[in-house]
Each structure stands twice: as C-alpha cells, then as structure tokens.
Assembly symmetry: C2
Homo-oligomer: 208 residues x 2
C-alpha cells in the first residue's frame, strides 16, 4: 500500500468517475457502456474492473459523491453568508438564496446527471432510500439558510420554512431543466434562475 501506487489508483478511479459522469449525462445510464466510459477516460476495461465491480456499483458511488459534494458546497456557501451577515453586510434575501443554490449544478452535465440519478431513484427502491436521505440533507440545509435570512432580516415567512424550501428547490430544478432543454449557456441559465427563483422567494418571504 505504497503512497505512490495508492495515489495513482485513486487518480484513475477519479478519472473514471469523471468520465462516467460525462457519459451518463450524454447518453444515460442504460446506453452508457463500460467500454465507452473507459475510452473517455483514456483507459481500457481492465482498469475499470480493477476498480469497480460493475457499472451499477460505479453509478452508486458516483451518485454518492455527487450528493456529498452538493451538500458540502451548499454548506460552505451558507457559512460564507453567515460570516457576511456578522460583518454587517446585509444581503438581499432572494439574492442570498440564489447565490447559495447557484453553487449546485451550474453546468449542463450536472443537471443531466442529477436528472439521471433522480430517475434511477424512481426505478430502484434500494437506491431510492439513499437518494431520499441525501435529499433530506439538502433540504435541511436550505431550510436552515432560509431561517437565518428571515431571522436576521426581521422578515416573515408566508409558509413553514421547510415547505418554502421544498418549493424553492422544486422551482430551481424546473428552471435548470428547462434551461438545459433550451440549450442555454451557463450565463443565461444563471440569469434565468435568478429571475424565476427570485420571484418565488419574494412570494414566500414577506417584507415588513
């Protein structure tokens, strides 16, 4: 278990996972062959089967990694906003939320991949359990964010925080999907999200 070897192995795993994310996004889980993933990563199938038991097992791992990264990214952003508030920099309510959410899935590949993960959760009950757990984590994070913004700004919610979070996430996902369908680039997608999600946030948060 030498350092170099391990590092190299971890590196090929990462490269394979990255390639898989792209391929899954491009053609979907079903049509993505192990061969194609390896080709994309610059390996042969030997490397794949040396690192993963099967395509499904790999997909599971990829989904876990994506979920972990998303929640972590949101958590970081929330913390950043906390710091900003403590420094007295009062941000606009909607803008804060959008800036936080913007960290998840800016790009096309992420959106496609999330949808692929989502639909897989509908098909596989076992996978669904893990998915729901991470979805709940993400929701909690957003709830907490909303709560802080409302408390610090002396604002009022028209809805319980966790229901508000659900709606915001739903609209966020909907806009992202439509942007991908419309073929919008990152900038345009971001702008569209600001507008539409901002509208919902202002609908939910009552200004006094």
């Amino acid at each position: 278990m030498a350092e170099g070897a391990t590092r190299s192995r971890e590196n090929t795993r990462a490269r394979l996972l990255d390639a898989a994310a792209e391929v899954f996004a491009e053609v979907g889980l079903g049509e993505a062959s192990v061969e194609r993933i390896c080709e994309r990563a610059g390996f042969t199938r030997g490397a794949f089967y040396s690192n993963f038991a099967s395509k499904d097992e790999m997909f599971l791992e990829l989904a876990k990694a994506v979920a972990r990264d998303r929640v972590a990214a949101v958590r970081v952003r929330v913390a950043e906003i906390d710091v900003a508030e403590e420094l007295g920099v009062e941000a606009d309510d909607a803008a804060s939320i959008i800036r936080v959410l913007d960290v998840i899935g800016d790009d096309r590949v992420s959106t496609l991949l999330m949808h692929e993960i989502n639909i897989h959760a509908m098909r596989d009950a076992e996978f669904a359990a893990a998915y729901r757990a991470q979805d709940a984590d993400m929701l909690d994070e957003v709830v907490q964010l909303i709560q802080e913004i409302v408390d610090d700004g002396g604002l009022v919610l028209r809805l319980p925080a966790h229901e508000a979070a659900r709606i915001i996430l739903a609209v966020w996902g909907d806009v992202s999907g439509r942007a991908a369908i419309a073929g919008l680039d990152a900038a345009a997608t971001s702008e569209l999200r600001s507008i539409e999600v901002g509208r919902v946030v202002h609908l939910i948060i009552e200004k006094c």
Copy 2:
C-alpha cells in the same frame, strides 16, 4: 387498404406503443431493446420494423402521443369546470386546479415516461423543439384555467398568470417525482399532490 387490415395494423401499432411506454418507464430509453418491447407486446421484431423505422422514431411518436393526450385531457377538464361554474357550482380555487392537473400522469408509468421524455429533450436539440412547443401548449392551458378561476371568483393573483402557472407545474412535477421515488401508490400520490400543490395555489391566489 381494407378496413379490417388497417384496423388490425393500427391495433398492433397501439399495442407496441403501449408496451414501449412500459419498457421505457421501467428501464429507460437507452436500455430498452426493440426485442424487449416486442416481447412485452407479444410480437416479434418483424412486427416492429414493419411499423416503425427505428426505436428513436418510435420514441418520438410515443412522446407526441403522450403530449397530445395530456393537453387534450387537461382541455377536457377545463371545459368541465367551465360548465360547472356556469351552473353556479362554485368550486374551491385550489381544488379546481388540482382536479385538472390530476388528469395528467396519475400513475407511476406516466411519471417515469415523462421524466424520460424530459431528459431526452435535454440531450436532443431537435426533439427539444417539439417538446418545448407542447410544453408551451400545456402552460397556456393552465394559464387559461387560472385566469378563469380568478376572474370568476373575484380573486387576485400575486403573480402574473403565466408565472403562476409555471410555478404550479414545477411543484406538481416535483411532487410527482418524489412520490414515485418514495414508492407511493396512486392514492397516496394524489393526496400528497393535493396538499403540496394546494399550498402553492393558496400562496399565489390572494383571497379577498
């Protein structure tokens, strides 16, 4: 082109399309083989290639049919509500909208299929164009519905109607997806939808 033969041919086409809808929902477009679809329909591939040029062409046709049926179903429900209102039967605002939307994709297969169609639209630009057109039609239908309910009830919208419709559809889709992931049956799904969509409707429609 005798009647009987034609009818029979139409029948096999329909059976193949039904089977395809199930298989696409179960395993996705990519993993659905022509063979499997035919097996499900009780035919061999001979019948398939006699009726469709390819799996993709068939998917396109299926998507068109689904879209057509959905919009048509909504249109019928909207008309029903119009009649009810003319008869003086004043329905609850949220309930009316939910009853209309409930007509689209009650079941698990429809939800899966819609997601499959949706994700395919993200991947295929040409397909996306057709998808967006039908999506716009559906949106228009909901906008009209909202408008009528608001006008007849002397209510006020907190948002422009078409933005309200977008949000309602987004939440509706989100709830449907989560219900499928949770493995809820039709009744539970319907109930969950009532609650969550109802909440959004009440948020958007101001009662005077």
